[in-house]
Amino acid sequence: MGISDKIELENELRKIADYIVTLRREIAVLQANEMHMEKIPAAGQELAAVVSSTEGATNEIMAIAENVLSADASDPAAYKAFVDKEMMALFETCAFQDLTGQRISRVVKTLEHIEARVSRFATYAGVEDQPGHATPHEAETAARKEKYLLNGPSIADEGNTQPDIDRLLASLKGQ
């Protein structure tokens, strides 16, 4: 190997070393451990709490409605007092929305935090997505979703409204 080749090799190795140093710094900035150990589990707990409190409030509201529908209305004064009491309970139950709203806001902030860091890292490192890296569970879920058309609730303007569906069914009549 000639001197010029050695110099060129040394320069290349120096560039690689510099790249590794900066890449390590970017990985540190990514705060992957914080995301993995704190942010994502906390967001999961917040969403679980939202599901739980929404379900609890819905059941309470339905219980109130069922109580009112099945109440004895033969004594109007007693019936009115009972309905008033149940309606107050209904208002109290609706307070769940304030808490779930705050919890969802925290989850949105976490997602924005993760998005900003991952985006910065992907841009810096010049990362390109590679297909075929789904876990067996992810692959199975994706296959089931495609086979049984499990699209889930649509975002506004994506899906059909009831009148759209009625028109669609009418157009498919006889097929």
């Binding site: 339905m62 529908l69 609730p153 498919l172």
Partner: protein, 129 residues
């Protein structure tokens, strides 16, 4: 022909809350004989044990979806004539078309109200125009 309010109805949904909502709405419409199942597989078992006048089913359930349940029902000579209404958040055209091709009688998108449920049940049992 109006729907017979005495007929047994099977409501299939993996969310207890939704079953409770549909059960209450059906009660208000006069239907008292309502059974429930948490997915297509459980529903299929109940359909083989008792004759139902109507199935009201969600789409997205595990292990068996409402779409698979519909196809199983239509493929079974003993069950194939059972009226079937899909009540689901799946509102894409491909879902509606697939359900229609599989033999669904009507399709309700969530969230829905009592009037829509009544209207769809009535239209399933109305004589063909």
């Amino acid at each position: 022909m109006a729907a017979d309010t005495g007929m047994p109805i099977l409501v299939v949904d993996d969310y207890k809350t939704m079953i409770r909502i549909i059960r209450n709405l059906l009660k208000q419409l006069g239907f008292e004989d309502v059974d429930e199942a948490a997915d297509g597989k459980e529903a299929l078992g109940k359909l083989k044990e008792k004759k139902y006048g109507l199935v009201i089913s969600d789409w997205n359930m595990e292990p068996m979806t409402g779409y698979e349940l519909l196809r199983e029902v239509r493929a079974d000579p003993d069950l194939s004539k059972t009226p079937f209404i899909m009540v689901t958040a799946e509102s894409k055209t491909e879902n509606v078309v697939a359900a229609k091709k599989a033999g669904v009688n009507n399709y309700i998108v969530k969230p829905f109200n009592a009037a829509t449920l009544k209207n769809k049940i009535d239209s399933v049992f109305a004589p063909a125009a």
